[in-house]
C-alpha cells in the first residue's frame, strides 16, 4: 500500500534545477547584474511569446515547419523502409547496393546542403529533400536489421501456409521487423526535426516562414528574447514529437503483448 502510494506520488525534486535557473535569471535581471540586451529578463521573453501567440505568427511558423518536417519525414521514411526491406530480403540487392549505401551514409548530413542548394535552389523543394535524406538513413538501416532478424523458421511457416510474395511482406516481414522499424522511424523523426531547423538556418528561402527562420531573423535583429523563445519552442516541438511517437509506437506494438 505504501509502496503503491509512493509510486503514484510525483517526485518534485526534478523541478528544482529549472526553478533555480528561472529564479537566478529573474533576480539577475532585477538587480541589474546582466546586460538586458544580451540577456533579457524572463518577463520580456514571456512578452515576446505572448505577442507571437496573439498575432498568430507562432502558429503560422509552427505549421510551416511541421509541414516541411512531416512531409520530408514521410518521403524519407517510405524510401528507407523500401530500401531496408529490399536489402534485407535479397542478398543480391545487398551486395549491389549495400556498399554504396554504407559509404554514402558516412557523409555528414549537412554536407549535402551546398550541393542541394545548387541543384535545387534555395526553396522548399531543397529543404524537403534534405529532410527526407536525413530521415532516410536511420530508417533504412533499422529496417534492414529488422528484416535480417526474421528467422528461417518463421519463413518456413509462411512457405508452408503458401503465402504469396505480397502476403510474405505484409504478414510476415513487416510485422516481424516492426519493433526495429519503429525504432528507426523514431530516430528518423528526431533527425528530420534537426534537419528541418538546420535547413531553415542554412537554406534561407522566401515564402513560408518556419520556426528556424524566425529565430535566425531574431538573431540578425539582435532580438535575444525572440531567440530564447524560439529555441524553447523548437525544443518543445522536438519533445512533443517524441511523446506522440512513443504513444503511437506502444499502440502499434500492442499485438506483441510485451510492454516496455
Amino acid at each position: 500500500m505504501t509502496t503503491a502510494s509512493r509510486a503514484f506520488r510525483r517526485d518534485y525534486r526534478g523541478l528544482v534545477p529549472p526553478a533555480l535557473l528561472l529564479l537566478f535569471w529573474f533576480v539577475a535581471g532585477r538587480l541589474g547584474w546582466t546586460n538586458p540586451t544580451l540577456i533579457p529578463p524572463p518577463e520580456q521573453v514571456l512578452a515576446v511569446a505572448w505577442q507571437y501567440l496573439g498575432s498568430g505568427e507562432l502558429f503560422r511558423a509552427l505549421a510551416a515547419s511541421l509541414a516541411r518536417d512531416l512531409g520530408g519525414f514521410a518521403l524519407g521514411a517510405l524510401a528507407g523502409i523500401g530500401l531496408g526491406v529490399l536489402l534485407g530480403v535479397s542478398r543480391w540487392a545487398e551486395r549491389l547496393l549495400g556498399p554504396t549505401f554504407h559509404t554514402l551514409k558516412q557523409i555528414s548530413l549537412f554536407a549535402w546542403i551546398p550541393l542541394l542548394s545548387i541543384w535545387l535552389g534555395y526553396n522548399d523543394v531543397s529543404r524537403v529533400v534534405f529532410i527526407a535524406v536525413s530521415a532516410f538513413y536511420p530508417v533504412a538501416l533499422a529496417t534492414f536489421e529488422g528484416v535480417r532478424g526474421v528467422t528461417r523458421a518463421q519463413f518456413e511457416v509462411a512457405r508452408v501456409h503458401g503465402f504469396t510474395a505480397r502476403q510474405r511482406l505484409t504478414r510476415l516481414i513487416l510485422p516481424a521487423a516492426a519493433p526495429q522499424i519503429l525504432t528507426g522511424l523514431n530516430l528518423g523523426l528526431v533527425y528530420a526535426w534537426l534537419a528541418t531547423i538546420g535547413a531553415e538556418f542554412l537554406l534561407p528561402a522566401y515564402g513560408d516562414i518556419g520556426l528556424g527562420d524566425s529565430v535566425i531573423r531574431g538573431r540578425a535583429a539582435f532580438n535575444v528574447a525572440l531567440v530564447i523563445f524560439g529555441m524553447l519552442a523548437i525544443g518543445g516541438v522536438g519533445v512533443a514529437l517524441n511523446r506522440v511517437f512513443r504513444r503511437l509506437e506502444r499502440h502499434l506494438l500492442r499485438w506483441r503483448g510485451d510492454h516496455r
Partner: protein
C-alpha cells in the same frame, strides 16, 4: 557481366574437396567486392556521360576530371590538409570537453540516487532539443569564433556520452558491486576496478556516438559561420559556383567520417577481445 555471374553462381563443383572448392570461397568474396563496385561505377559512367553530352552546365555538374584535378591541387598545396586539421582540432577539443562533462554528469546520474532525482528530468527534457536549435543563442553569447564551434559541438557530444555513461553504470549487476564490498574496496577502487570495466562497453558506445554527432555538428556550424575549416571550403566553393570544390569537400567529409567510424569500431573490437581475455 555474364562472366561475373558465372563466377558468382552456386558453383556445383564446390561439393568435392578438389582445388576448385578451395578457390571457390576467395573467388566468391572477390565477386561480392566487385558487385559492390558496380553501382558506383555505373553512377560514375552516367556522370561522365552526362558531362560529355553537356546535359547540364559545368557550374551545376562539373566533369569528374575537374573534381579529380581540384582534389589534387588542394591536396598538394596543403590547403585541404589545413582545413581538415582545423576542423579536426575543433572536433578534438569538443570531444574532450563535451565527453568529459558527459562522463562526469553520466557518472553522477548513475552513481547517486539524489543526482538522478534532481537532474535526470531536466536532462532528459533538454536532451531532446535539437542541437542546431541552440546555435543562434550561442552566437548571441559567444560570437561566431572558435568558442561558438567548440561549445556547439561539445553540446552535441555531451548528450550521447551522458546517456550511455548513465545507462552503463545503472546496468551494472548488483552482485558485481557486492563482490567489491566483500573485498572491502575503497570508493576509488570500486570505481576503477568494478564500475569502469563493467561499464566500459557502454562508455565506448557513448564515445562513438559522441564523435559521430560531433562530426555532424561540426559541418553544420562551419556552414553557418566560419572562415576556415572543411565546411568553409564548401561555403566558399558554393559562393564561387565552383561545384568541384563542394564535391571535393564532400569527399573529404565522407572519408574522415568513414575513417573515424572504422577507427572507433576497431578500437571497440579490441576492447571487446580484451574483455573476453579478462574473464
Amino acid at each position: 557481366m555474364t562472366s561475373l555471374t558465372n563466377t558468382l553462381g552456386p558453383l556445383p563443383l564446390a561439393t568435392s574437396a578438389s582445388w576448385p572448392a578451395r578457390l571457390a570461397a576467395p573467388l566468391r568474396r572477390a565477386g561480392h567486392w566487385a558487385a559492390g563496385l558496380l553501382l558506383p561505377l555505373a553512377l560514375f559512367a552516367l556522370w561522365q556521360y552526362a558531362v560529355d553530352r553537356q546535359w547540364l552546365a559545368e557550374q551545376i555538374l562539373p566533369p569528374p576530371s575537374l573534381v579529380w584535378q581540384s582534389l589534387g591541387e588542394l591536396w598538394h598545396s596543403g590547403e585541404l590538409r589545413d582545413h581538415l586539421a582545423i576542423s579536426l582540432t575543433r572536433v578534438g577539443w569538443s570531444v574532450l570537453l563535451g565527453g568529459g562533462a558527459g562522463l562526469a554528469l553520466g557518472a553522477a546520474l548513475g552513481l547517486s540516487r539524489s543526482a538522478r532525482a534532481y537532474l535526470l528530468p531536466s536532462f532528459e527534457l533538454v536532451a531532446q532539443f535539437p542541437v542546431v536549435g541552440w546555435v543562434p543563442l550561442l552566437i548571441v553569447f559567444l560570437g561566431i569564433d572558435e568558442a561558438l564551434k567548440v561549445a556547439a559541438i561539445s553540446l552535441a557530444v555531451l548528450v550521447p556520452v551522458t546517456v550511455n555513461t548513465h545507462r552503463g553504470i545503472a546496468g551494472i549487476p548488483r552482485p558485481l558491486l557486492d563482490v567489491g564490498r566483500v573485498y572491502r574496496f575503497t570508493v576509488p577502487q570500486t570505481l576503477w576496478r568494478v564500475v569502469l570495466p563493467a561499464a566500459a562497453p557502454s562508455l565506448f558506445n557513448g564515445l562513438r556516438q559522441g564523435v559521430m554527432q560531433a562530426w555532424l555538428t561540426l559541418v553544420f556550424v562551419e556552414l553557418l559561420a566560419s572562415s576556415e575549416g572543411i565546411g568553409y571550403l564548401m561555403v566558399w566553393g558554393r559562393q564561387l559556383l565552383q561545384l568541384d570544390l563542394v564535391v571535393v569537400a564532400m569527399l573529404a567529409i565522407g572519408a574522415v567520417g568513414l575513417a573515424l567510424d572504422l577507427a572507433l569500431r576497431w578500437a571497440e573490437s579490441r576492447l571487446a577481445s580484451w574483455r573476453r581475455g579478462a574473464f
